[in-house]
Point group: C2
Chain length 197, copies 2
DNA sequence: TGCTTTATATGATGATCATCATATTATCAC
DNA sequence: GTGATAATATGATGATCATCATATAAAGCA
């Protein structure tokens, strides 16, 4: 059936967006092609008209996820001075809301341990995404006057990613909340954010 | 065939140890019962004489992994003063050697994002393991004179786990090394370890 | 109106998965 | 040495998986 010229592209977008959500929620292994296509309102056979393989889909979906990361960073930091921007981003990142919405949240915290088992093409995309976010954080830290902002940003990102991952891993809600709160307090205290000491 | 009384227990141990390695290396979804039993020198059918289900195996294997964590912590910190003990543990945790041996390394960094999708029984075990390691780190920090040692230990563990996970996720070796080095330097600098400033 | 094109659907393939019923056989007790 | 016992093996079940060959049908074009 010959649809208008954009139809194919729109379908592709829809599959990719569903994949970006499903992969973050259930992991690359937890997402089947058939279930994904059904979620997108299609049947499973048409998948290979859009993607060369499931690995290809995963790699491209990771790209989509990091587009969201950029959008979120800009949204939290736009029109704020460096201290307020960092404070807002840390607050967002280490919030219960972020913890409880894996399918829309940061792919770094959602997929870090899965990445080690994925194809190089996906891992390279992931590495570029990490480098980009580190760079934006480093820019804010540099404007704050932090020495060696690149190194500080890398360590800060590790801390935020680790805390969010651990908060999602444990079963006890109180323990989970505490992990987030301790990391947020440590970061704010270190850089004098949010009126902290 | 009726073996001596310990045979069943030994076989069980062997399956569990293989599982603890394979799950850390390939993830819970990446380990099949048949392949695991073959690795242990057995056939797949006998599995259910030892474990109620694969979920049961995973939960018990997580327990085995955390026994290793305790052993490693003791090994690194025994007979050292608090600063040297912490420095040694941070050095071990954020080493390339640790990064490159997922199957024997810390389960927290190997499985954190997988845990969010596992059964509650496994997540509870994981949470207890995290709490235990946090407690040991807090003890060392308290002896160092760090205020609010529990909170500091929790944030420090998040940072180490995040850095190790990210170092394994990226494809570029230089980027991977830098992630480890930045986190190690940040922690050592913060607590005055290893002759750092 | 009818032909061509092509996006999607149908259905099949072979692999792998967890699980379990049943068969085998090695060792211990006698 | 013989028989009972229990640990492991064999083989099957049904589900799900990625992948692909082929069929269908809708929309633009003539």
């Amino acid at each position: 059936m010959r649809y208008d010229a954009e139809h194919r592209g729109k379908t592709r977008e829809k599959i990719l967006r569903e994949a970006a959500s499903a992969i973050r929620a259930r992991g690359p292994d937890g997402v089947g092609v058939a279930a994904l296509m059904k979620q997108a309102g299609l049947t499973h056979g048409g998948f290979y008209a859009h993607f060369a393989s499931k690995d290809d889909l995963v790699a491209q979906a990771i790209g989509v996820m990091f587009d969201d990361v950029r959008g979120r960073f800009d949204h939290e930091t736009a029109e704020r001075d460096p201290a307020a921007a960092l404070d807002a981003y840390v607050g967002f990142y280490l919030s219960r809301r972020h913890r409880d919405s894996r399918e829309r949240g940061c792919p770094i915290a959602a997929l870090s341990t899965d990445m080690a088992r994925l194809e190089p093409v996906s891992r390279e995309r992931f590495g570029r995404g990490i480098a980009a976010l580190t760079g934006w954080l480093a820019g804010a830290l540099a404007r704050l006057g932090v020495a060696d902002a690149d190194a500080a940003a890398s360590a800060m990102l590790s801390e935020m990613v680790g805390a969010l991952s651990l908060s999602r891993a444990v079963a006890d809600p109180a323990q989970s909340d505490a992990i987030l709160a301790h990391a947020a307090a440590a970061i704010r205290n270190r850089f004098g954010l949010g009126g902290g000491a």
